[in-house]
């Protein structure tokens, strides 16, 4: 089993004149295990996978895949691998069966074996009921499984998966993981690229990339070891935990910190003493098991501080007890299909509220109804007291919207994007110039001002999207998967700003598949089959599913157990 499936020797690849996408990478990938290709967006993961398929050629160095050189024998490699590109490579206007037939023919799967293979793959991926459905009409999780099935049609020796977890809910992700794990037991080599560091942790070994450089290669636990004894969980916090996190982060010796439900997770610098964390009477500081992400942040030199200049420049919003976002019996029907049914909740000023749920369960329908993108069939949604259907413009003036993938106009420069959003939200004259200057200073946009937004590194895109969404000082901020694929440092910076804004009274509604983001929420509504099946704080939800087997469940465990519990009830 220890034969090298992929040998990468001194590989470099550059596009255009910019910094190389991959710089002097050397590594080996083995069969029979899952190798994680880990790193934030722009690290070079996709480029490396494409180099392995032979669709790109390295500028320098050599790649040998299954014993074939990618330069000379690309065709033989392509006959022996399975590859699932981002967006899964499916034809959306073909049905599930037609996609399978197409790839079976292209991969030369013999006719006699087809019935059996299709049957096995369809039950394996649980798609049997949907063979006639168009791929474009499948949910994200189902598309992902179909993409995998297409890559597996003719048993590959090496399976290359490019970010299979993006846009996919935790249940589908976990199912996919199990499927892939089974394949490795037959000796298949799997390369799984991901920006989620919790996925990386489960791999047999990882290649950790950042900005085209290989930072680490080996089993993830080996990297995690470097932060042994430096990870703590602060619990029993009195008062608000967000200002405490901000203050902790600014103390000497504190390297990194994130909010985890009611608690705060802290990584200290080597040699720092635990008592820098001491705080009040009831607060307890306990050592916690280190995670891969802690080590990665440590490797990158620690997270940002706890101050948000953005929040400091924001005016405090008064009367903390009013409900800024209200959903009253929100219902949406498409034909005879009910996408959301009787969704009701209130979000207080200065609260972070999360909408979670599997793909296609009604989470984005609810989100869209609340920010005015969809008209509810029944019920009403209010933002800052304004009805979204009647006082549309007033309501919209008071909300900010950030969908991490789609917010910006890529063809416009940074400065032009800022100008546009300031204008659309009605900022005028000196006030407008001041606001633009302010966010330009805070986020250090001056260097990029004339660059097209689409050419920015993802981290800067994300900062720009945030700046554009908050310049008009909205009372409510709608976030749609705000940090997926972003590197952990930028992610922490983002949440520092959000935490700061929340302390000033801004109200946040966030929808996400990303459990780390869920942990930042004060309350979460879990939506499944169009209904809210659980509403409570992250810790409450986790407590609900705690059992003897699993006394300290993660947010993901809670998510999966609650959804499966609801499904069982319905059955």
């Amino acid at each position: 089993m220890s034969e090298d499936f992929v040998r990468i020797e001194g590989v470099s690849k550059a596009f255009g004149s910019g910094a190389p996408a991959l710089d002097q990478i050397s590594a080996a990938i083995k069969g029979g295990e899952i190798t994680g290709l880990v790193g934030p967006d722009g690290a070079g993961k996709t480029t490396l996978i494409r180099l392995m398929t032979g669709l790109l050629l390295p500028d320098a160095g050599t790649l040998t895949v299954l014993g074939f050189d990618t330069r000379r024998e690309a065709a033989r490699i392509q006959a022996a691998i399975g590859y699932m590109p981002q967006r899964f490579g499916l034809y959306e206007d073909l049905s599930v069966q037609e996609n399978l037939d197409l790839y079976a023919d292209l991969r030369g799967l013999p006719q006699v074996e087809r019935a059996q293979v299709f049957d096995e793959l369809l039950s394996f991926t649980d798609l049997k009921r949907f063979t006639q459905r168009l791929a474009g009409k499948l949910s994200g999780g189902m598309k992902q499984k179909l993409g995998l099935a297409c890559a597996l049609l003719k048993k590959p020796r090496l399976l290359l998966l490019d970010e299979p977890g993006v846009g996919v809910d935790p249940i589908s992700r976990r199912e996919l993981w199990k499927m892939v794990k089974d394949l490795t037991s037959e000796g298949i080599g799997v390369v799984w690229s991901t920006a989620y560091l919790d996925e990386a942790e489960a791999c047999t070994s990882v290649l950790l990339l950042n900005q085209g450089k290989l930072l680490f290669t080996g089993p993830p636990a080996e990297l995690t070891r470097r932060v042994d004894g430096r990870v703590f969980k602060v619990t029993g916090i009195e008062g608000r935990r967000r200002p405490l996190l901000a203050s902790l982060l600014d103390r000497p010796g504190v390297l990194d910190g994130v909010i985890q439900g009611e608690a705060i997770r802290i990584v200290t610098e080597p040699g720092a003493r635990q008592d820098v964390l001491r705080e009040g009477e009831g607060t307890k500081v306990n050592p916690a098991p280190p995670r891969f992400e802690d080590a990665f942040v440590d490797l990158l030199g620690g997270g940002p501080g706890g101050r948000s200049k953005l929040a400091e420049a924001t005016q405090t919003q008064a009367d903390a007890d009013t409900h800024v976002i209200e959903a009253r019996g929100l219902t949406k029907r498409f034909g005879d299909f009910t996408a959301a049914q009787d969704i009701t909740f209130d979000i207080k000023r200065g609260e972070i509220f999360g909408l979670l749920g599997p793909n296609g369960a009604g989470k984005s329908t609810t989100f869209k109804m609340l920010c005015g993108l969809l008209k509810p069939t029944a019920g009403e949604g209010r933002v800052a007291g304004f009805d979204l259907r009647r006082d549309t413009a007033e309501a919209r003036n008071r909300l900010g919207y950030m969908a991490q993938k789609f917010s910006l106009y890529g063809d416009l420069s940074v400065a032009q994007n800022l100008d546009f959003f300031a204008g659309v939200y009605g900022l005028k004259g000196q006030h407008r110039r001041d606001k633009i200057k302010l966010v330009t200073d805070i986020f250090d946009f001056a260097r990029y001002a004339n660059q097209s937004a689409k050419d920015l590194p993802l981290g800067h895109k994300q900062r720009l999207a945030l700046a554009c969404a908050v310049m008009h000082e909205p009372e409510a901020l709608f976030l749609d998967e705000p940090t997926s694929g972003v590197d952990p440092i930028t992610r922490r910076e983002f949440w520092t700003h959000i935490n700061g804004l929340v302390e000033k009274g801004v109200t946040i509604l966030v929808t996400t598949h990303f459990m780390d983001e869920a942990e930042y929420c004060d309350r979460i509504s879990l939506i499944f089959r169009g209904k809210s099946i659980a509403l409570g704080s992250p810790d409450e939800l986790k407590a609900r599913v705690a059992s003897a087997d699993n006394p300290d469940p993660t947010m993901e465990d809670a998510f999966i157990a609650l959804v499966e519990g609801s499904e069982k009830e319905a059955a």
Binding site: C371, G372, L373, L374, K375, T392, A393, R396, N397, L399, Y401, A403, K405, F406, S407, L408, Y409, G410, D411, L412, S413, Q416, D419, F420, F421, A422, G423, V424, Y425, G426, L427, K428, S452, F478
Partner: protein
């Protein structure tokens, strides 16, 4: 409200013009098209080959052939003695026409009788061959006139042609003003048809819909930039027409631009309508083509509308190009009065009103 619309207009303009490839596509092809097609769209016929079969042995047959050879429109005169060869030359399109001079030609003319000439033309290229027939008839008529007696001449009715507005019937005086209207349609339609479809494919349309922009503000923001681009094209074309092609501009520029505003608004309205119907960019582009081709054919550009059958003429009432062609040619060459401009601009305003309201309604209904 104006601040918001202003921001949107700037954004739309930048989205088209900031990308160098986009700038290139907006500026170069329209100008290239104007030049190539102004010169290509000509109804004069030159450089064609003619076959001659002379069965006459006298001097008048020779005289006729020499006059044909001397005509500037014909490149080569192929003389032949065989009927079969004439067939072959025309069949293979090696000549466009064949002139056959009868055996009795000179004798008849000298005897004061009418000589017989047969002209065979290639009906496959019926446009060009009709024109060639005209040229040949002129040459033959001039020969006949030279033969006529003074008495015959003074008895014949002469027709004195007067070409108003375009004394030499210069074809380019017709093409260039027409192309102003047609190219503004082609570009305006594709640019607007893509504008909403592309935002929808990229996902940024949601961002617009959650902003405080109202539907009519989005509409104004979306229609102004293509109109500005259209006005820019029209200005370039007018300048080129006047200073490069030296076409007289007899009417009022104010009327031309006033009418152009409504023309562009109606074109952009149709583009936005197509755009909000389409799910993808491909559908938007192909949809624009399916409108464009019949619109050009039914505009009166290639063939006068009054020659179309009665049931078809009402279809042209919804075609903005039909009205603006009258205005642009009229202002350039005829100095048409205000009433006539109004007469053709009011329908444009109605088309714009209807298509823009329909597009607004489609925007909103997509939120359901």
């Amino acid at each position: 409200m104006w601040g918001r619309i202003h921001a949107l207009i700037i954004k739309e303009l930048l989205a088209i013009l900031r990308d160098p490839r986009g700038r290139l596509v907006i500026i170069v092809p329209p100008i290239l098209q104007l030049f190539v097609f102004s010169y290509a769209a000509t109804l004069e016929v030159t450089n064609v080959d003619i076959a001659v079969l002379n069965r006459d042995s006298g001097k008048w047959g020779q005289e006729l052939i020499q006059r044909i050879e001397g005509a500037p429109s014909f490149r080569r005169i192929q003389r032949t003695d065989e009927q079969k060869k004439v067939h072959e030359l025309i069949d293979r399109q090696e000549v466009i026409a064949a002139v056959q001079i009868g055996p009795d030609f000179s004798r008849a003319l000298e005897a004061g009788r009418a000589g017989e000439v047969q002209v065979i033309l290639d009906g496959r290229r019926s446009n060009a061959s009709q024109i060639v027939a005209g040229y040949l008839n002129q040459i033959i008529a001039r020969l006949a006139a030279d033969l006529a007696t003074p008495r015959q001449l003074s008895a014949a009715v002469t027709i004195v042609p007067r070409n108003w507005f375009n004394p030499n019937l210069t074809y380019i005086w017709f093409t260039v003003p027409s192309l102003v209207a047609i190219i503004a349609l082609l570009i305006g339609l594709i640019v607007t048809a893509l504008s909403v479809a592309r935002e929808r494919e990229l996902g940024t349309f949601d961002q617009l819909m959650v902003s405080p922009l109202r539907t009519h503000e989005i509409l104004i923001g979306k229609l102004t930039p293509p109109m500005l681009i259209g006005l820019f094209h029209i200005t370039i074309y007018v300048l080129t027409a006047v200073f490069f092609f030296e076409i007289p501009l007899r009417g009022s520029l104010v009327l031309l631009y006033g009418s152009a505003l409504f023309y562009l608004a109606s074109v952009v309205g149709i583009g936005l309508f197509i755009s909000s119907l389409s799910m993808t960019q491909q559908q938007a582009i192909l949809g624009a083509f399916v409108f464009m081709v019949p619109a050009v054919l039914l505009s009166g550009f290639a063939t006068p509308i009054e020659n179309m059958p009665d049931w078809l003429q009402p279809v042209t009432y919804v075609n903005p190009l039909r009205y603006f062609l009258v205005v642009v040619k009229g202002v350039f060459l005829k100095d048409i009065p205000l009433s006539e401009v109004l007469h053709n601009t009011i329908p444009l305003a109605l088309i714009a009103l209807f298509t823009l309201s329909a597009a607004a309604w489609l925007f909103r209904s997509r939120l359901e």
